[in-house]
Symmetry: D2
Subunit: 385 residues, 4 copies
């Protein structure tokens, strides 16, 4: 090695994780996404409440420090100035307590959605975050897709005219049978009100659809009229929802989510229609965006191209034409969050270009409104601002 | 010519048309569809109430007899035993009176949808048809696609298990601007309650979506919860509708229709999800049907193939792999209707394998329910059986 | 009927057909296409050399006059001033003799491709046609698609810049097994050099691909380098071909055709790349055309739209968004041909906006060159002008 | 941290890189792919021969050790037992010298393709690798896609029957203008025979297409007949190639590659047709594979599903339905390579489940044959085994 730079080089941030060990869907996604840009390393974790699983999972990932208690982890890492931020990948009911513990320890937090089990719990967490001692990101990862950023920039830039109509959908089929009664751990907690919250499907994926819609349009859902079902007999939370929407600014539309739509994996799709053009995006073909200007041919915008907005271009990592996917979208949230951690460490003001507690609160209020509407025979219910 | 057959050869049926002259969307479609199989010839018409247009249109089509009054046409053709059946391609408000006139004259009728302006008017017409003197077909043409017939046969045959969820859509954009105020004749009557009826978009194309859904599933829409809009300021009828559905048998879902969805031509699409499989069909790719059995790869069924149901195979006219379209689907209704006319002429019992007055009544009741639901703040409204 | 026009009205032209009866792929397609616009009626036919089949087929189609000999038909129809034109839908070896018979009788001819069995036979027929007593059309039907006409107009109008690269393909699988040895009549003659000609697959569908390519680009294939195979053991003609192309003007590319490509129905696809843009069209999605301008988003042009060329717009029969298919494309050739017959009957000069003998000769020379190249170890062979 | 495991935990491997600094397409891809599974960290690099760029690039990536000479890096890292393996991401002419340097130092090598500039140079390198002191991987990354592994397993497992026909394509447009004369560094060396080798497009991406084809089919290309062009005037290497193929086992087909195909980014697509079924895969929709069994509907296999082969399932990192892309495919090669490095470090026999020198030699021989064939007027040339 020759000619070392005079100033001490930056180092990769150190990250920890709570939850997300063996058997988790999302833990590995967080790890890969957090590390993808070479700016962070996962070094510690309380990956499971089961000590065996916690240690085995930590060994799988070559972690330096394995915990079996998140409270202990928060204390120890804060004391040792170990990790720079923590990732929360537990079932829903632990999101808020874990976040509170690390925030209290002054450690920045990346939390899987939803923010909390209830609106009240979410509001308490939001107040804590507002103290400003630590940063907080919520991983509505679909907002990280380059084509979604392009869509947002086109809508916000007026290329659709005034918005009139929206259609958003997130359908899956993994709960089409009562798998929660046959050993599927993911299904067990997701269909248990005590661990999942008020909403089943509407909370688990409906909130992603709602977030995507609001992220792209910039128009909050003002009111909704919902028909929630538990299609699988005996299920205690909804597994399918059909919802009419009214957005601030006057657009109307539908939000459909389901976890019993046989044959669908993760069909997340958004359409927005304005007075001058329409837009369409499908997660299954994530690297293209359809733009439909009135009276002219449809355009198929492709990620990685120079005609895209700066934000959309910045969200791609590989040359145009090489497909990118969910991990890279997820990593775009981490990239923005890590940049904010760097800023905070330098004493600069964070930019917060990622979903945060406000997005989490909106999600909780959306679920509460949907559940209330459905209970009231699909009455129109206002989503609290 | 040698060896003529001993029995007198069958001849092509003679057809007439009311409405459908120059400037009509649908008149030419009816003509081509009626004649496609070489079993009928259009020979007479009252193609417009404007005598100039009526004669010019008749000349365009080389008709033998041109009328300017449908009443006169019904009388004259009946007296001369001229046409075997009449095609009604007028604006909506004339469907019922014209049908009544020809039925009264003992002439079989093919009528564009809707059946009538109101449920009451439709019921009166239905009673007339029930007299049985003449046959009556209503051109819900989308039911004629081979892939739609395959879908119906798969659902009815149990290949989806019990139905759980449906999504049907028909979106267009041709009314996204107030074209009815700038000389578009088609738009003028379609946005005029006196000529179009209670429903705008929901009547014009929502009824097609509803028919397609019920045709494929065999499950009538029991109740709906609708949000209808007139997006274009000053428009008197809805041009956009978002509707929650509950079907007999327990499936739920959404029906979305719009004539202001910028960039969409005629996006008619249907998805049906059952306990064992899902189905998906798009008019824009009409010759394929997606079948999604649980836990197995999606299958893409193609029209013209021998693995299809007998009805689906019979609905194709060209070798597999040569695309067919809307005209051929439309012609499949005419094929079945013409076969019934032949049966009637031979004194046999008609088979009625095409939409008829009952379908028309269901359409009118669907529109009435949607309008009532929307007026009552998206209350659930039962669709009368 | 009131107010008849003073001049005698035009009547539908009368058409006859040779070949095309029961068991034929293409006879019914010709009938429907010829009649689609209401300008012609099929009234006579020598639909089979088997008298039984000939009469049964004529009865199916309600023909007025059935023949079992095309020579007799030509004589009788000419004598009686019966048909205005004849359609030739026989196996290939009869194309030229039948055409000669009707041309000699002064009856206009629409002939299925290929023109003849050999270049020499085709040249003789071309000389006959050049006499000018009767019109001659060759049904390279793919040229009739609206999107293909749009492609042609864009290329010819310079929207691609100078052409550099082409890729054209026509793949099927119906000969993937030795069906000609198990009773498939279509396969029998198509794999028999005496009835099909020099080329098997390359003649049957390779010529369609070559015609489509030259039609769109306006650049004749100058030379080719071919590798023809008989994949199915014992087959005497090629059933698969891979061909390198050099086009006049400098573009190079590939032509692939196959009748043993398992799973393909009629996958006809064309791509053209120029110095400023590319184009892509697929028969399986016939109503759209992809346009790829350098450095900008792809555009998806849709048929029926006002932004298309006049010729492309004129080639659609139904409102935008209603899919059209192969029959309608085929009918566009008949529309142009029938207009020419009208012109000829009025003593006007024909316009010849449909493929003719020159196209047929080019096809025969293409096949001859491909066969010669393959025999010579894939040597480059010039396609005779 | 509590309860540490008794045996010392495994650590992440340490990696270095030569080339790949700022301005490189592929360096960042290698870094992300190598690190994705959390089993390796990039810590050292000679990222550019320009010292400024080398240090700036190393700082971008937070490397611990930055070199400006790969020879020095090889010496120093070997002496210090620093890195476990090196990644070579330089222009082509340095692949072999750099690889030789690190192999000589006993350091495992991951090398971008091609193996070398010439067959002779590649053979020398292959002999060196055969010594067995160090492992060698060549990043034909497309072999890493889950759907490609599924395709391979289906072909090898006989699900297509005997292979008959192949079509493979890799088209781009980034060299459609003479960008090498206007400051594009990537284009400069790729169009320079001294740095790129014998082949331009055919070497840069044609080799990827050839590798994909052979990887999936298991059938080496026996002979080819090529037409190479330099479409852009003044370019010294081919930028477009059309090639006829004959594969061991009897299948024939085409390989098309281009860097002047306007509008194409990285259109890599493969079709394989057998006596019982066909397969189709497109990089642009990488997570699906089309399977076309004779006489039955097409099947669309999706990655992440349990019906896939074990190898295909193992190649996915996220739940089914979340799209994956090029990075993840690339990372699958690194995963297998890193597992081999672990094996080598434990004294076990490597498994070599990734492309290696033999694949590199096949690529060089393919390019040599294509160039020779084209020079000889598209003569058939045998590809040396």
């Amino acid at each position: 090695m020759n000619n070392p730079p005079a100033t001490p080089p930056a180092r990769r941030l150190r990250a920890g994780m709570v939850g997300g060990g063996r058997g988790s869907f999302i833990g590995a996604v967080h790890r890969m996404a957090a590390e993808l840009d070479g700016q962070a390393l996962l070094v510690a974790g309380a990956l499971s409440s089961d000590p065996q699983v916690a240690h085995a999972s930590a060994a799988d990932w070559l972690l330096e420090r394995a915990y079996t208690s998140y409270e202990e982890m928060a204390r120890a890492e804060a004391a040792a100035r170990g990790i720079d931020f923590v990732i929360i990948a537990t079932p829903n009911h632990l999101h808020s307590p874990v976040a509170q513990a690390f925030l209290a320890a002054g450690i920045h937090v990346v939390c899987d959605k939803p923010l909390a089990l209830t609106v009240a719990e979410g509001e308490a967490l939001a107040r804590h975050v507002a103290d400003g001692r630590a940063l907080f990101a919520l991983t509505h990862a679909y907002a990280g897709y380059p084509a979604v950023r392009q869509a947002r920039d086109m809508v916000r830039g007026g290329q659709l005219g005034s918005l009139r109509k929206v259609m958003v959908e997130y359908t899956q089929d993994w709960l089409m049978d009562p798998v929660e009664r046959h050993g599927n751990k993911q299904a067990e907690w997701r269909t248990d009100p005590a661990r999942a919250g008020l909403g089943g499907c509407v909370g688990d994926i409906g909130t992603h659809a709602a977030h995507l819609l609001e992220f792209v349009t910039g128009c909050p859902i003002e009111a909704l009229c919902a028909d929630l079902s538990a299609v699988v007999p005996g299920r205690r939370l909804d597994d399918d929802a059909n919802i009419l929407l009214r957005l601030q600014g006057g657009a109307r539309g539908t939000l459909v989510c389901s976890q019993v739509a046989c044959g669908e994996d993760n069909r997340l799709a958004l359409r927005v229609y304005g007075s001058q053009a329409g837009l369409e995006w499908h997660q299954q073909e994530p690297n293209t965006l359809l733009y439909k200007p009135a009276g002219r041919p449809w355009q198929r915008l492709a990620t990685g191209q120079r005609y895209l907005s700066a934000a959309a271009q910045a969200a791609s990592r590989v040359p145009a034409g090489h497909p990118e996917g969910y991990l890279e979208a997820f990593a775009n949230l981490y990239r923005a969050f890590i940049a904010d951690v760097r800023r905070a460490q330098r004493g600069e003001t964070p930019v917060r270009d990622y979903p945060g507690v406000e997005d989490g609160l909106r999600g909780l209020r959306f679920v509460a409104a949907a559940v209330e509407s459905s209970r009231r025979g699909s009455a129109w219910v206002t989503v609290q601002g």
